[in-house]
Amino acid sequence: MQRYILKRILHAIMTMIAVTVIVFFLQRLMGDPVALMVSPDADQEVVEALTKKFGLDQSVLIQFLTFLKSAAHGDFGKSFKWQEPALQLVLSRFPATLELAITAMFIATVFGLSIGIASAVKPDSFFDRFGKIFSLLGQATPSFWLAVMMMLFFGVKLDWFPISGRGTLLHLFMPATTIGLISLASITRLTRSSMIDALKSDYIVMARIKGVPNRYVIMIHALKNASIPILTMMSIQFSYLITGTVVIETIFSWPGTGRLAIQAFLARDFPVIQVFVLFASFIYVSINLMVDILYAYIDPRIRYQ
């Protein structure tokens, strides 16, 4: 088991390194950062001074090493737009995104799993058909449209919830539900099919032969086996979650890292874009690592390889 975990951690670290390299070198392709900072007819001396200041006259490799060195100290440069250290800026917005993401994931998981399991246990019932239609629609709906529609309906027409900003639970409801609903659709669908597959197996018949009460047959025997594909799906969902927060935060003016990223993009604020990409990758890689470790707990066959 330890070996497996170590391998996965190593893998995660290597991935992060690769991402860092890609991000760094892509930045170089963006064009001369100095040209963005100064006006077109600035003095040649100023341009040279700035170039030297940012170490842009050095070779690419040295620039990369310098970058790594400052990164190790937490220094990723200063935001062009907001004139704050880029890392701190991104981190300061993170709690808001975390609040949104966790709530959305909670909604999607709790309801997705329950509806999925309930549908699998009673296939072709009215409940199941409703679940299927809901999943189909959910997977076809673009998140930003759902957000706008919810805004229109609950925010404007009914005026139950505020349509922008962060503050109370009321503010949280629409953004979190929008992201949550779309993830919910996929989770429900996959939970249902994984559970149905699991329930067809011989070990389920065996469990019934033993006289195991139905609720344990479903929740222990079937669910444990179904949870592996479900976990895989959930880590993919997490990737969509990151996309989702960017979109939803923009629409609802939620002060999180996603909205920051778009604002930075529109302002060509490269340090912030860079930190955002690295940070988001880091979170995503960490989540994947945790999922991999969870796999090993659930499926002993992985541990004993």
Partner: protein
């Protein structure tokens, strides 16, 4: 246990008339778009701005679904938007399909170190969520229709590669492949004349189901400003533009979104139906 004597209740699925209808409509507007648009989708007419759909007060049958902030007919823009979606989707799928299938074929066929390298590469690529790669690439190339195609293509090849690789791995051991090899068939011929035709079924299903992802991510990127730029008639753009007027012009955002929903739904349902017909072993999920 005895072999399953009972058969599934719906062995023969009905042809999904509704789904195929939606897809057909989609393709129809794409092909015949310019001939059926009631108005020029780009013509600005500020006197006619923000007209509601014809069934509401203030609307007229001239603009069946109303007009946007610049007086452009929404229905016409929707039709043109379908064409844009389709073109972007086709090119994007061509890119990710080609990359994915090639990598999958090579990885599965040669195995060994090549396979490991390609799989590692896939893992790496998967660690970057779509939006992140999108932001990076668009930062470098600047937002445009071409950039969107590249972004969507470059972020979507993983599924193709994985599934094709899986198929190749299982087909490799099949009798006809072994026979061909014994007969002295060269590697390239084996891959393209023998293996590839057999994965075609799976590919068709994949492509159909992938359309949905492509359409949605294109619209999302465009909506955020990372994609197709105005004054193009794109569904995502229409939604972005309409957002400001949401409190009093609901039709500007509702119709483009519904168009996306219906297009994606149609493709997904068709893909599901194809999967039931062409993939009885449910290799794809």
């Amino acid at each position: 246990m005895e072999p399953e004597i009972h058969l599934k209740k719906n062995v023969r699925r009905k042809i999904p008339v509704v789904a195929l209808g939606m897809v057909g409509l989609f393709f129809f507007t794409v092909l015949f778009g310019p001939f059926i648009t009631p108005h020029n989708p780009f013509k600005i007419d500020l006197n006619n701005a923000i007209r509601p759909p014809f069934w509401e007060e203030g609307g007229s049958t001239r603009n069946l679904l109303g007009t946007d902030a610049m007086g452009r007919d929404i229905l016409s823009r929707l039709i043109y938007g379908a064409r844009t979606s389709m073109i972007v989707s086709i090119f994007a799928i061509l890119i990710c399909g080609t990359i994915g299938v090639l990598l999958g074929l090579i990885s599965g066929y040669y195995g060994g170190k090549i396979d490991t390298v390609i799989m590692r590469f896939t893992d790496l690529w998967m660690s970057m969520p779509t939006i992140i790669t999108a932001i990076l690439i668009v930062s470098v190339l600047g937002p445009s229709k071409k950039t969107v195609i590249i972004v969507v293509g470059v972020t979507g090849w993983i599924t193709y590669a994985r599934i094709v690789r899986g198929e190749v791995l299982s087909l490799k051991e099949a009798a006809f492949v072994r026979l061909a090899r014994v007969a002295g068939c060269g590697h390239l011929r084996l891959i393209f004349s023998h293996l590839f035709p057999n994965i075609l079924n799976t590919l068709i299903i994949l492509v159909t189901l992938d359309f949905g992802r492509v359409i949605i991510i294109t619209a999302t990127l465009t909506f955020l400003g990372l994609g197709i730029q105005p004054p193009s008639a794109s569904w995502g753009l229409m939604l972005a533009e309409g957002r400001q007027y949401i409190t009093y012009a609901w039709w500007m955002t509702t119709f483009p979104g519904m168009a996306i929903l219906l297009a994606v739904l149609g493709m997904n349902l068709t893909g599901d139906w194809l999967r039931d017909r062409l993939d009885p072993k449910q290799k794809l999920r």
